[in-house]
Symmetry: D2
Subunit: 401 residues, 4 copies
């Protein structure tokens, strides 16, 4: 049997803070009560702040982030519409696949898994699209499978520079609430998130930012939809309700998580913390002598790091050993990375001690799976980084090496 704290370092669902967990420990209530909006309307408003969305709106669909992907597509596009998307990881690939299933024509740019969204190539194709055949550009802001963050603002500039009218879809599931994301400034039309990542709640609500332009598109778009219909949702949301029964404990959790992010820690501080902790993870991994999947330091994700195991080691063993022997969940390599990569999720409610735990268990599991590492090397590099951040003098750090 397992004893002790279970350590969760997957890139979602993430650890739920105590205060959020408390908030979800509630009795059921009537979602048609006249004061239900006292709970929900401020959540909708706060989500706009979180998305940095001013003129649009944010909707909550009971379901997962995948549900929000589908809602985005079926409400704003038409069967046969062409979309442009880079496939550079599992989630961008799955999103393209969903688009095809739902009847869109997918123009895919296939890249190595580890690359970022190719802004120049996107710009070139948009420039070449004189007739405006491309109805939407899909960008995976943070590719959770590879730990790569892409330049959404760059894609917006590409659209603007050739006066292209395509809708800009962004998968922000593992970025919004953790990385810098600016729906309004970047002109994002549909921005997808979920409760179980940066928002530090259990899964159960897909979150969708919808620009006014996307809302307008939904009024004429003809794909069949019911559960995900924007008009139904918007009409009920206007009075603080939902077209069907929402998961109320999760709404209470979301309420508390938003308070924490926006009012207690502050969104900018949250983003800075993710950067600081991620850098420690990367230093630790480098000190272990391992490579990461992201092709360049400038595109490394601050929410998840995908790490290549040494030759001769099976990443599935690393993950299994961490889980079975040390009660620690690491993320697996997805698709073609399976067996070659493990991932450390470092988003949501995280701190320095947790990073040290993740690295120390990873080292231990790697050695148990056959890797030849010096114990403590990765942890030590992260410790040195944290000490330096706190101002411990360089001399001490050198002594510590």
């Amino acid at each position: 049997m397992r004893t002790g704290q279970t350590q969760l370092f997957i890139p979602g669902p993430t650890n739920v803070p105590e205060v959020v967990r408390q908030a979800m420990n509630v009795a059921q209530q009537d979602m048609r009560a006249h004061d239900f909006g006292d709970l929900t309307l401020p959540i909708f408003a706060d989500l706009k702040t979180l998305f940095r969305c001013e003129t649009g709106r944010v909707m909550l669909f009971p379901g997962s982030g995948t549900a929000a992907w589908e809602a985005a597509i079926t409400n704003t596009l038409n069967t046969g519409d062409r979309i442009l998307i880079a496939r550079h990881g599992q989630f961008s690939t799955l999103w393209a696949q969903m688009a095809e299933r739902l009847g869109l024509v997918v123009e895919a740019i296939d890249l190595a898994w580890g690359a970022a969204c190719p802004v120049n190539e996107i710009a070139r194709r948009l420039g070449a699209d004189r007739e405006g055949a491309i109805k939407a550009v899909f960008v995976t802001h943070n590719e959770t499978a590879t730990g790569v963050t892409s330049d959404v603002a760059g894609v917006r500039r590409a659209l603007d520079e050739c006066f292209h009218d395509a809708l800009l879809f962004v998968d922000g599931v593992s970025s919004i609430g953790s990385l810098d994301f600016r729906m309004e400034e970047w002109g994002v039309d549909l921005a997808v998130a979920g409760t179980q990542k940066g928002l530090m709640c259990p899964a159960g609500l897909g979150i969708l930012g919808v620009s006014d332009k996307a809302m307008a598109a939904s009024r004429t778009a003809t794909m069949r939809r019911a559960y995900f219909d924007f008009a139904d949702m918007a009409a009920m949301n206007a009075v603080g309700q939902f077209p069907y029964t929402p998961p109320t404990p999760l709404l209470h959790g979301l309420r508390r998580a938003l308070d924490r992010i926006l009012r207690e820690e502050g969104l900018d501080a949250v983003i800075a913390r993710h950067r600081r902790l991620a850098e420690a993870v990367r230093r630790g991994v480098a000190a272990m002598g391992l490579e990461i999947v992201a092709e360049h330091h400038s595109i490394c994700s601050d929410t998840v790091t995908a790490i290549r195991v040494p030759e001769g080691v099976d990443a599935r063993d690393v993950i299994r050993i961490a889980y079975d022997e040390f009660n620690t969940s690491l993320g697996s390599g997805l698709g073609p990375l399976n067996g070659r990569v493990f991932r450390i999720g470092h988003l949501g409610d995280l701190n320095e001690a947790m990073v040290l735990t993740a690295l120390s268990v990873a080292e231990l599991a790697l050695v148990r799976a056959g890797a030849d590492l010096r114990f403590g090397a990765g942890v030590g590099a992260a410790q040195a980084h944290f000490a330096a951040q706190r101002g411990t003098a360089p001399r001490m750090q050198i002594a510590a090496e």
Copy 2:
């Protein structure tokens, strides 16, 4: 401010038992861990028992019961298919509307709200459908808006007697787990439920029973679908997983609720309890001198009772007063019944004392809203019924009148 226990007598979400609430108070976990199926596979198996489904399967879709409605349609029918449905309440009406939105041709039988599904008329139409144009019959087993239970077995017989091949869809959202429901015996092909009614959990998972015939239909059905796709779900469910992140606390709650229903109280006992408590509600309502919406005693629902308020009283006032003054949620009248009806939900985790509470607050709110009732009359009738059930001699009961 409100003090004291909040009383919840809406027909869903229902009161969550303490043991279920405890079970949901968990840390997050990895839904891709190799032992995640230890949690989920027995849930799938138990849901089959709950649905009395032997040869088919039961799926869980993150979302609401409405999501399961959509999954049922988009996986098994084709655009332009004709379906037959009786509209005799809000939920049957909404279901028909969804079918239309999703591209089906709806052959509706419109009845008074308060009527049950007209088995004879269904049989007549099926018999007349020589070409098999009707691809599905939709039956609302328990119409939550009116408190009416329909005869699903009768519809099955109608299908069988004319050797009709249409799929049988049943909305069991407010019946499965509370009323007698037999998926296998009644040949139901798609049976919809949710976590927030008889299963005594918060909302968050749509539950869908799928017969082998429906599964076969899904392999050729061509409606576009992605989030709700049976094939994806079935493939992942086979190893105890989901195509996307499920709400794990709710899965733990469902696990506990199923133990309680199937192993601790026993499904037959649960159904008998619903009958016993519902009868007390009806006797109480009758003793208040009020009418119920259900047209005949034989079709009264054992999970919800829709009650007409006296002339000159606005049911919305009754509901508002119960909520604002007495911290008690009653269900509202839906659609054309709004203002004329209030509802008492009596399903899930309920007992005698709660029925007495519901009736006593209803009396109080009715009087406060202007009704001319004798205080204690309804409660007294229910008390007498409970006493008699426990064997208190008739003499005593007569004395008590």
Copy 3:
């Protein structure tokens, strides 16, 4: 097996409000951390407000109210000291017994169970005590066994009028936080409470108000004590800590309960609510044709009502039936009242609907135990009272009879 909400109408532990329950759902923490006082010091301050204590202090002893009784005695009195106490119920009797066991000489005034503390007789004895042999007067502010509230202010006047220096001990376990209690104004020296009554938390902390005079007495008092020592406790409390490990989840619950009482509902409103609900209970009991134990309306407790069962009925059957058949806990008759009395606790987090539940289950259990009652009579009287309080016109009330 039991289903549905468990109804708790004992006079403690009382129902814990949802917000308090949430607050106790916490991880453990270091009670020696430098910021532990951020939690505890405001609790100590708020408890002073609750006790209406200005110049003294309030201490928390891990234990029960009985522990606080013992702490009060052993810190301020000396072996062989004479104390004056009226015995008019189980708790005043037990307190006197404790005093004897701890080596005090108990001068008891024995009264019928149902009487209040006899202020005139107390005054007479104090007046006769020229030598000041009486070192303390013990008053049970609210005798939980009989549902009788006594006049503490009267006892203070009696002390003052004969310039008597005895310490004034008050058992406020079932009064403080629910009834009007004024430690400073009434010159109470030692005031005992617990977390599990008006404070709406689980049991686990004895609460003790200590006047400056009592604190001074503790410096010279010579009874042996260690766990309960005031000096140790006061020294540690000064920095927000305890001499030993306190139950931290309960401290968090208490923190939340105090916010609710003092800031959300307001102490005066809490007291008024107790009065309003208690009156409904008494009217209900009267309408059932039953007697209460309190000898006069003017001394009836607003937190608990002790009810005599009719001849030929065993109160233990009433309680057992309510519990076994209707999942409802009623209080038992204590000591000589066992079998002849049951009690309804109506303190803490209570509302109108809960009172109606208590009365309706009591009626049902009484009939099942053999009483000859008209069902609904008691509930109806309480409903009429609540309707009248809310302003429903007298005509309607009469019609309702």
Copy 4:
């Protein structure tokens, strides 16, 4: 503000396992209900198993472990009785102090803090006590302040060898349920524990094992007591109840914790796990180049390690930095060790990853407080120990150094 998991490595209260935490999330209940014993009686029985007590009994006193100390003394000894106790740490010193306060004559053997109970000297004094003046020997099985475990069996042998009749008191607060403890075999008469250490619950109940000999002594012992009286407690416990209101949520937590220890992990496995994890802590500390307080490896505690900081470093800084900067609670040095020692508690619900976290944060805090350590050294030694335990070949371990 603090983010992320709070790390708790104090020697109590310890981390509460998820299942225990769930179990405590309950509504209140009637502690006088006829079935309350269904909860409590098996707890009493299981506690006997945990204490390895066959002929005696185990009592639960609402309060802390200190309360149980007092109960042990006041029920079995008489004012003026001589007791023999070694003072070799904060808790043995406080216990001796309590004994003096309660009127006993304390014969103390003062030793260096870091020494164990001196069995030979105890034997010598018992042998010299021809008249049996020594009525009790007090042994601190595990001195939490120094991380030293003493030889209780040896003290029993010393008593037996000179046929001495003194009662054997054992403070097992930080040993019982974590270290090998044998009440029956070692002839312990009074064994003190608490809920907040090895039992992995919040504080709130003092636990006291009482031998038949101690029970017999209580029948004639004349110290004044009320709250802690054995006779009252035993009489109520016999029917599964308490003389006053117990903290029921904690009883539910204790119920679950006992299941886990005795049935799921197994007491022997729990003890072995403590040994295994403690050894890793000690190896880590040694690799950091630090000394521990325990004077010899053979007396090192498997539940807590007290670590001396290097010259020029203030241990209070280490603790403050760990807490303020890294959200981690370490134990402080007590009494004369304050500022010179910090402690790592490694008892209760612990695993390998948590040990690595403790060591890595300790290293970081030490460096931040001015120590000159090589980052990762301590963690690495613990990792190597864990890897070796799991069977990773020595070659690999050497490579890893």
